[in-house]
Symmetry: C2
């Protein structure tokens, strides 16, 4: 029975910032890939990737931060003067600094002038798909799009898994607050406050120096009037209703590590027409847990899971893939998605969240943060799972 297919024990939670060794190992994987691709440099602009390699998280604005990585040795960060001590305060790896004064700046003193001193004009330079076109145009040498860092991030280290396990303890608390406080007429904003503040209090208790740039807590409920529409953002005053299906979302990014937990629940009673789609969703979810193991093709898993829903007659009510990855964000590669051809591997962290969405009736979806283990998968999040448990008393 989901969510534990693997016999593996739950890894211990970790709350410490990454050590130099952890960051050096991440960099080594990136540099090894760079050498294999014949790159003289790789430039990371994406703040998520810069965080992954340095533990420094920036707020993106018009003053760029550019992490210039050589095929071996120490990376250089091109950063604004204003932020240099901020970088030094958070980065936990060796770094060289190339500082520019401001943007805009007088001729010869702009970020691209400093950048041009750090990257050789004849270099073959790897860049992220996310690099803004305006920065690519200022990048010296010949640029080649290659998502090396995104790719290296897909399989987690034991350290990363420990951070995500801890984040799962936090998100479980936030999810409990949603179920505890849901009553007909309650506004979503009140549930958001109860849930997100409980998570934040727990985070700050566990990690007093949490980096608030990469710490975020969200707890919300989509009542049946909108739960068929999973990416419509509820307003503060959206009201919880009698019955259901209500769909919860609890998300947190804890000092840089993101996870989620979601359930479908009912208040007081289960409408008759909700039982069949609810069961179909649960069956699809079970199928996903059975299939999620090392060696399984992720596109095939998605097709097999969606086939369950098709076979139950809800093929037109699918809006999205079966799952996505987690790590330092709550939404990243890899994907349990038709068209994504890659095998699952131990150390991947994914959501399992097949959903059914019926306008006029509502949405049916659970989501958990799931670790691929050596012999199957293991949900790192825990919350009620049965229709009985999720039919809450009024």
């Amino acid at each position: 029975m989901p969510p534990t297919i693997s016999g593996a024990p739950l890894p211990d939670p970790i709350t410490e910032p990454p050590g130099k060794d952890e960051l050096a190992a991440r960099l080594a994987r990136v540099q090894s890939r760079m050498r294999a691709e014949g790159l003289d440099a790789y430039v990371s602009f994406d703040p998520v990737n810069v965080y992954y390699l340095t533990n420094f998280a920036n707020n993106v604005h018009e003053r760029p931060f550019l992490l210039v990585i050589p095929p071996q040795g120490t990376p250089t960060i091109v950063a604004p003067l204003l932020e240099t001590s901020h970088v030094r305060a958070r980065a936990r790896c060796d770094l060289e600094y190339a500082t520019y004064y401001e943007f805009p700046a007088p001729e010869g003193e702009n970020w691209w002038d400093v950048y041009a001193q750090v990257v050789d004009a004849g270099a073959r330079v790897g860049i992220e798909p996310a690099m803004p076109s305006g920065i690519r145009e200022r990048t010296p040498g010949t640029t080649v799009i290659s998502d090396i860092i995104d790719d290296v991030r897909i399989v987690k280290s034991a350290y990363e898994i420990g951070r995500n396990v801890h984040a799962c303890r936090v998100v479980e608390l936030g999810h409990e607050k949603l179920l505890e406080n849901a009553r007909p007429g309650t506004v979503v904003g009140a549930l958001y406050a109860a849930s997100s503040q409980a998570m934040m209090a727990r985070i700050l208790g566990d990690i007093p120096h949490a980096n608030l740039v990469v710490t975020r807590t969200v707890g919300a409920v989509w009542p049946p009037s909108i739960s068929h529409d999973p990416h419509l953002i509820p307003t503060f005053g959206t009201q919880i209703e009698d019955g259901g299906p209500h769909v919860t979302i609890a998300f947190c990014q804890v000092d840089g590590y993101g996870v989620e937990l979601e359930r479908t629940f009912f208040l007081g009673h289960v409408p008759d027409d909700a039982r069949a789609p609810f069961d179909a969703m649960l069956e699809a979810r079970s199928r996903a847990y059975e299939l999620a193991r090392p060696g399984a093709d992720m596109g095939e898993v998605d097709r097999a899971v969606r086939k369950v829903i098709f076979d139950r007659g809800y093929g037109e009510q699918i809006l999205h893939r079966t799952g996505h990855g987690f790590g330092i964000t709550g939404h990243e590669a890899p994907y349990l998605a038709d068209g994504y051809s890659r095998d699952l591997e131990p150390g991947m962290l994914i959501s399992i969240e097949p959903g059914i969405y019926i306008p006029g009736q509502g949405g049916f979806r659970y989501s958990d943060t799931v670790l691929i283990t050596d012999d199957g998968c293991l949900s790192l999040t825990h919350a009620p799972q049965t229709l009985e448990e999720l039919t809450l008393p009024l």
Copy 2:
């Protein structure tokens, strides 16, 4: 005496969402520029620009939203199936929809397949500097970087100014809470909560259906131990101290319109060595208010303002330009910055915030949200200004 140089009255606050006419006028300005630049299409990926033209705000993830604008007529939005009703719920302009199922997707069904049907392979296509390189590579036709929308956003309509005036009422409230609750030993997290929650409550009172994707409130204080380092993010437990200089930051984005308000304050007493840099900062600020008027070159204003600080002997203690623009964000073009050559115009909204930062002593900076009027400038934010007012009792 700052902050009101202009004789203009304060415009009335506006809390209503933009009407079709307002959005049509924005689009018309963009399309007029497109025709002047000979573009067959302009593609906006930047969620800020999509919001400006449509009133729809997306959360960026790996499923792109692409607003394809023709030189005249109705734009088309390329959006994931999952989000189409979300777009329809918030967009307040005419739009065509081109929907793709998911990312990743099977061959022939990806976002770039739909994108290729919307943009002609022979077209000359304008793109933003912010467009990710990976999306540019999938853009049909010949792409040309041109920041038309960012540029059109620089001069505000009467409607936009009204929205920002309202946001300034909110940020003033948040700033009051910072000064009201600051005591030696108080943690920054408590001030953040008092300030940001007061702002959020006011926003939701004034705009119950505020779009939470573009609504954000931040209130914090940098105590003297870190106020010399304006972009270092305080942790939750950073403590307020006796004396000063403390530097406040109150920021809010109210249903899509961003402003800020900042002051330097002292608790109980003013250290003797703080008076000279405080006065120098105030003098530089006064100079900026005198110079900020239509026709003034923005780079020259910055140079003249920084000259005041240089002449007072603090030239080495400057970390940043004099100011930046506001609008639908809290940080955008234009810039009061050396190297930025553009004249101020009526309808621009800028910060005036020259700062002095002395390691071991602290930072000295005020910031206000300032409108350029027909004959000068007008601060839309109001807070105590004198050293006496900002020396708070213990």
